[in-house]
């Protein structure tokens, strides 16, 4: 019988598909010639690769987008990028679905329901840009008319590192408000305190993975998130051949699955483990002599429990090693640490030896899990200090600082500040930084950093303090711990303008919504970052036809807003923007589109028309830059910062004179003492211990009797921050997050605990902390220790879109949001929001 599609359809119409299908399987093939059919000609899709920049995480990878007839179709790493070697991670691929998200906001919207709250329909209606910006400008002018410009608050989410100066850096300042608030402190700022107060580098480190012989992954999973994910993925497999990989994480991560050693420490005890590793490295004499120095007499005097004479040791690039030993390390034996961390002493010794043997090619890659907890500064310092001990700072195979790609500066803003702006710009910021209980001494002595999550508390405490909010690419009602506080705070704000791509949780509280360009495929800007020993500047540009009436918040929208403010009697912002000059032609912008282009040209001009030849790539022109898409600097030079670390001593400080100065100055300002300040901020250290890396026992919200499980929060490898959950590809491959389930959200619990509680995989459970509760699905999993439960951050949207939320119209979430469980608390020395370290206890009940 010769069966064709037509004859089959006729047959199935009679017999019913099922019957014939069953029959087919057993039927003998009509012919056994496997290749009786010939392959017909084919052509791959025609199009072109256009350069842009990802910004799905903080790696900010230079990418290229494959464009067919004005449609964005595929993404890859920029082939010229030295940061990612021409590859993007899975986040990059999701750009396509985010660009064509069916739930994009396509026009400006206005709220028509004055009632605000979670689950309250804002009853948005479409309006024109003109009407929208009139509404915004009127509300802003009202503040100035009433002599309260400081009641304007701008909150920055994802941004461009160059153009942020035009909105974050300018609008509140010229207007007369001190309230420019960045999202930074909810990310990983506490992590910067380690390198900051030991080597004066308050930044994210680079790693020389091509030469690393011992990689210690600590409190993160760089194969999934943190930074430079594609570069790490490309080099990890070879490190396994070359040496030892150690993963320190309370939950089983991909890095743990692929490591020689997994150390699933009790959450929040990282400082104890670091101290014990340091103790063993010193007692076994495997520290790096070139960086740290040696005993003058040659003999190792580091013996457990014994104090050492400071004069006996001669340091080289470091300061205070013996002090550190005497104050915090001499009794930090592996046996002691085993009790605190639950990691076997033998494994601690084994890992310390491996670290010492590979030194200085031992990179300790610290992530936010170490420091983003209520006493995290000291854990962060303790973990980073290990890089100092093994001499990997700026060494081949080690932990490096980085170069910077040159970028152009925008004109100075000062001349455009009127008396009102100068006066009210000095008002107190709403985030409470610098208060006695919130030092936030990020950046070193005399400096302060943002306390993002405290803004909600500030607004709740004084509901009249903020009357108009502008915010772009934020979703603090979803992304900040103690999320319900943001629901309460935002509901009370008289006028809130949200600049976003999707109707997010925070958008539900907006009065006016200005639809944003989706940055990686639609925004024009210049982005800078570093990875793999090279810094870069890359173009971000519209690569495809923009389907909706959207505008770029940091250039086009501020220009249009400035025009409106000028028309209503406040010209200063417009006058400032209009003073910009094109770096090549000197032309001044006359409209939003010109301003958009001129600002990108100013930012990138030092790359394509440098005053002196650059050491990195050669870029001929603006057009050449947009075509190539990336400028890579020269390779980072080893030992570049030896002898000139930005610390008080210019050395790598195991005894932090820099922290001592910062804390003492801060205490003086409050007529207090460092001990008093630390006690008020919840740290346990007193006296000299406050100035060395050391172990602070974990702080925990909720008693172990009422909330018996330590909650472990971590990031999805598919998270484009909190924004990719409306993509079906995100949901379909959620199982790429180790232990997770596609299209779902699972709380992972050790099977022994589940058996004890009578729970099994698939059960719907209510998870409660002292601050809130969520309902999600339980999964039994051997990847967590008994007494702990883990859940990935990402799911739990009750808005954002039809895929992200279970039911957008009814505000029903898909899974649960970790931030509704995590307690609003801080590492107060840095101002960082606590997320990790088991600081939130939870109770789990079957629903």
């Amino acid at each position: 019988m010769k069966l064709t599609r037509r004859s089959f359809l006729q047959a199935s119409a009679v017999a019913g598909g099922g019957a014939l299908v069953a029959g087919c399987a057993g039927r003998k093939p009509v012919t056994s010639a496997m290749t009786e059919a010939k392959a017909l000609p084919k052509q791959p899709a025609k199009g072109e690769w256009l350069a842009s920049t990802c910004q799905g995480c903080t790696a900010w990878c230079p990418i290229e987008v494959f464009v067919q007839n004005g449609r964005a179709v595929q993404v890859r790493g920029n082939q010229l990028s030295k940061a990612n070697n021409g590859y993007c991670c899975v986040r990059g691929h999701l750009i396509i679905q985010q660009t064509y998200d069916p739930d994009r906001i396509k026009v400006p919207m206005k709220r028509t329901n004055p009632a605000k709250g979670r689950g309250v329909d804002p009853k948005f209606v479409p309006i024109s840009w003109d009407e929208a910006l009139d509404l915004v400008a009127d509300k802003m002018i009202e503040l100035r008319t009433n002599n309260e410009p400081h009641k304007l608050l701008y909150m920055r989410g994802r941004y461009s590192p160059t153009d942020q100066a035009l909105l974050y850096g300018t609008v509140p300042k010229i207007f007369g408000s001190p309230n420019s608030i960045s999202h930074s402190a909810i990310c990983a700022e506490a992590e910067k305190m380690g390198p900051g107060y030991t080597q004066g580098f308050f930044g994210y480190r680079d790693y020389d993975l091509a030469k690393t012989r011992c990689l210690v992954v600590w409190g993160c999973d760089p194969l999934s998130s943190n930074r430079q994910v594609p570069n790490t993925i490309g080099k990890f497999g070879d490190i396994l051949d070359r040496g030892t990989v150690v993963t320190i994480d309370p939950r089983f991560s991909t890095s743990a699955a692929k490591a020689h050693e997994w150390l699933p420490l009790k959450p929040g005890t990282d400082g104890a483990l670091a101290a014990a590793l340091a103790h063993v490295i010193l007692t076994e004499g495997v520290w790096n002599r070139e960086f740290v120095g040696d005993f003058k007499a040659g003999k190792n005097l580091f013996v457990a429990g014994q104090t050492v004479d400071e004069a006996a040791f001669e340091e080289k690039e470091t300061h205070g090693l013996v002090k550190w030993w005497n104050i915090a390390l001499k009794d930090a034996t592996p046996a002691w640490a085993e009790k605190e961390t639950l990691i076997p002493a033998g494994q601690i010794v084994r890992v310390a030896r491996a670290m010492g043997e590979a030194a200085p090619a031992t990179a300790v890659w610290m992530g936010p899990g170490v420091g983003m907890n209520p006493r995290g500064t000291y854990a962060s310092m303790a973990v980073h200090a290990l890089n100092g001990l093994v001499g990997s700072i700026d060494a081949p195979g080690g932990t490096l600082q980085s170069n910077k790609a040159p970028t152009g500066e925008y004109p100075k803003v000062d001349a455009y500040l009127d008396e009102m702006a100068k006066k009210f710009g000095k008002e107190k910021k709403i985030d409470g930084r610098g208060a006695k209980d919130m030092p936030a001494i990020m950046g070193g002595p005399g400096k302060t950093g943002v306390v993002t999550n405290n803004v909600a508390n500030g607004m709740l405490k004084d509901p009249g303090a903020i009357k108009v909010i502008l915010s772009s690419w934020t979703n603090f009602n979803f992304s900040c711990s103690g999320a319900h506080r943001w629901d309460q705070a935002m509901a009370k704000v008289p006028f809130f303008v949200h600049m976003v791509t999707n109707p997010s949780e925070m958008t539900q509280f907006a009065d006016v919504v200005l639809p944003a360009t989706f940055a990686p495929t639609e925004k024009l800007s210049v982005i800078t970052n570093m990875a793999n020993l090279h810094a870069h500047a890359s173009i971000q540009q519209p690569v495809c036809k923009i389907l909706w009436d959207v505008k770029t918040e940091e250039t086009e929208v501020v220009w249009l807003l400035a025009e409106k403010l000028k028309a209503k009697g406040f010209p200063n912002l417009y006058d400032y923007y209009a003073s910009f000059e094109d770096p090549e032609t000197g032309k001044k912008p006359t409209n939003a589109a010109e301003f958009n282009e001129i600002t990108a040209r100013i930012s990138s001009a030092p790359i394509w028309m440098p005053k002196e030849p650059l050491k990195g790539d050669k870029i001929e022109s603006w057009t050449d830059f947009r075509t190539k898409g990336v400028y890579n600097t020269e390779r980072y030079a080893y030992k570049k910062n030896w002898g000139k670390f930005k610390t008080e001593t210019k050395k790598f400080e195991f005894y932090s004179e820099t922290l001592k100065k910062a804390l003492t100055e801060f205490a003086d300002k409050h007529k207090s003492t460092p001990d008093d300040i630390l006690a008020g901020c919840g740290y346990v250290a007193k006296g000299e211990l406050a100035f060395v890396p050391h172990y602070e026992p974990p702080k925990r919200h909720g008693s172990t009797s009422e909330y018996p499980f330590d909650f472990i929060d971590y990031k999805s490898r598919l998270n484009r921050e909190g924004r990719s959950q409306n993509a079906t590809w995100y949901q379909e491959f959620k199982k790429a997050d180790i232990g997770d389930e596609s299209w779902g959200d699972v709380l992972k619990m050790n099977p022994a605990d589940a058996a004890r509680l009578g729970l099994k995989s698939g059960d719907t459970v209510k998870v409660s902390s002292t601050t809130g509760s969520i309902v999600t699905t339980l999964k039994t999993w051997e990847g967590v220790r008994s007494g702990t439960v883990a859940k990935c951050f990402g799911q739990g949207h009750w808005a954002y879109g039809r895929v992200a939320a279970a039911d957008y119209a009814k505000s029903q979430p898909r899974g649960g949001n970790n931030n509704e469980l995590l307690v609003d608390d801080y590492d107060r020395l840095s101002g960082s929001t606590a997320r990790n370290g088991g600081f939130t206890g939870v109770r789990i009940e079957k629903v």
């Binding site: 087919c24 290749t35 052509q43 791959p44 790493g77 990890f236 497999g237 379909e732 596609s742």
Partner: protein, 256 residues
């Protein structure tokens, strides 16, 4: 004629999902529905042991392009809709496909109806089926708006972009269409529209670990042949006698 195959180095693989997502983009495969994943490339997960001594492997899976392909043998139409190209690729011609699903039922790596375990990567199916009379792109024909007049819809997004699937990768192929119609099966064709034009399959091109090596096994100088010579390779379900042309080398983790 080459004899195409693929080697996947599990030590390099980190289970990140770039291959699976890039495949969905390259081949315009729709979201899962009706017990079909429509994932021509997928991930299997296996975790064993008890805390803290646990071992995990993520196995990227795709059509094995078997030498003895039951899907081809059991394809009842003439000429066959499921057939072997001369280069070894197991191809599918959608015009000739009658949607009988004999291929899906006979393939040892496929399931007619995926269960919930596929959501955690315990099961998968190489071949998926587009049911007769059902919309194969419901995501993009959906005209509903979350906020009326303010947010987009799938249908409007496609219309504005100029194609039903706005990000459609519009390749041309005489055998299979860039978007499937109802009543046919679909599966990985090793990006024949790319490989027959000197390009790598999309999953290979996208792999940031460079864990996937595609090429001509018959060419002794080709990287794939060298890897197969150098390493002991594993193939899925050897006992089924299908002679897969997708090979796995090394271990996912040192403790795996």
């Amino acid at each position: 004629m080459p004899n195409y195959g693929m080697v996947i180095d599990l030590q390099k693989c980190v289970g990140c999902g770039c291959c699976t997502v890039a495949c969905k983009g390259e081949n315009n495969t729709r979201p899962r529905a009706n017990g079909q994943s429509y994932n021509w490339s997928d991930l299997l997960n296996k975790t064993e042991g008890t805390f803290p001594d646990i071992r995990h492997t993520t196995l990227p899976v795709l059509c094995n392009h078997c030498t003895n392909a039951p899907c081809v043998e059991n394809c009842p139409v003439t000429p066959k809709a499921m057939f072997k190209a001369e280069d070894g690729t197991t191809l599918h011609n959608q015009e000739r496909c009658i949607g009988c699903r004999a291929c899906q039922m006979s393939c040892p790596y496929s399931a007619e109806q995926l269960d919930e375990k596929s959501l955690s990567g315990e099961t998968y199916s190489v071949i998926s089926f587009n049911f007769e009379g059902r919309d194969t792109q419901p995501q993009w024909t959906d005209q509903s708006e979350l906020i009326k007049g303010c947010t987009a819809s799938g249908a409007e997004t496609g219309t504005k972009a100029g194609t039903l699937v706005p990000h459609m990768n519009a390749y041309e192929s005489g055998d299979y269409k860039a978007i499937r119609r109802a009543g046919v099966v679909e599966k990985c064709i090793l990006c024949h529209h790319r490989t027959s034009n000197g390009m790598q399959p999309a999953c290979v091109a996208a792999c940031p670990a460079q864990a996937r090596v595609f090429g001509d096994q018959a060419d002794a100088g080709a990287p794939i042949a060298q890897l197969l010579k150098q390493h002991k390779a594993l193939r899925l379900q050897e006992a089924a006698g299908t002679e897969p042309n997708v090979y796995y080398i090394r271990k996912y983790g040192p403790r795996s």
